[in-house]
């Protein structure tokens, strides 16, 4: 019992500083994305890119400060699994978008459909 207990205490540092830093950075990034999305400070087509960058940055902050993905040996296992997870996520999301865009490019327009029916 005492053995596992000490292991438990050592596992991750038990102070609140990391969480405070994470909270501060996350609040900044949230405010930035909500604030900028409503204004026209940024060139229109660039806005989705900016929002994506802010979101990915905030996800990184959550992973490092709240979920403790780090360079320790424990973190190595989780980081490897996380890398595979991110790979699958990109395959699913971008794969679907590319395929569905391509398909809708092949779809006849309403005019063409009407002509085909005649």
């Amino acid at each position: 019992m005492s053995d596992t207990n000490s292991e438990l205490e050592d596992e991750v540092s038990t102070n609140a500083k990391g969480y405070m830093a994470g909270l501060g950075l996350a609040i900044l990034l949230t405010l930035a994305s909500f604030g900028l999305a409503r204004t026209h400070l940024v060139w229109g087509p660039g806005m989705p890119v900016l929002l994506a960058v802010l979101a990915i940055a905030q996800m990184g902050i959550h992973l490092v400060f709240f979920m403790h993905v780090n360079a320790s040996e424990e973190g190595e296992n989780t980081a490897l699994a996380l890398g595979f997870g991110i790979f699958i996520v990109f395959l699913v999301v971008f794969g679907s978008l590319v395929i569905m865009n391509n398909l809708s490019g092949f779809m006849p327009t309403m005019d063409q459909l009407m002509k085909m029916q005649r």
Binding site: G22, G44, H62, G85, I88, V89
Partner: protein, 211 residues
Amino acid sequence: MSGGANTAVLDAHGRPIPLSERGPASTWSMISFGFWLFLLSDIVIFASLFATYAVLSNATAGGPAGHDIFELKGVFIETCCLLASSFSCGLMLIAARRRQLQRFYVWAVVTWVLGAAFISLEVSEFSDLVAKGFGPSHSAFLSAFFTLVGTHGCHVSSGLLWLLVMMTQVATLGLRTTVVRRLFCFSLFWHALDLVWIGVFTIVYLGSLHV
């Protein structure tokens, strides 16, 4: 374990032993790694729902588009609730690890109340939309929206249930090692839900302004 790469484990000849040759991992590592794998599979589910939403977000069938029906003020408050709840969940875990019972209860209740506030805001948003006639059956866009955001809401609701169970376990079993391990898994789950919510508010709500 705390120092990670700095504290290499040495064999009889003073050579570092690779991680793969150190025998079975501790219960703690196995549980946290296994729970990570569960979370990643959950994130893959959300990825497919995000892909569905992205593909269908313009299929409004003559009905309203995102920027016609979303109210960003409510979404911002929801985001704040979830972020604050994620933070208090971290403080709850620290209290549990230090075996500070009172603090644990305070932060657990704060976490629960903030999560419940998030869910009640989401439920009122959904019921408003349905009352206006923009339910999930109205268009493919709304089906995808309700599925994606609703699945996240279901996860948060089950997290609230889980937290209630954990508070009961702490009350009956005390902060023993197994209970603290379960609390650790809960905190990972709760942070992962906040992670998914970042994607939701960026892609669904803020993205609707710039289509």
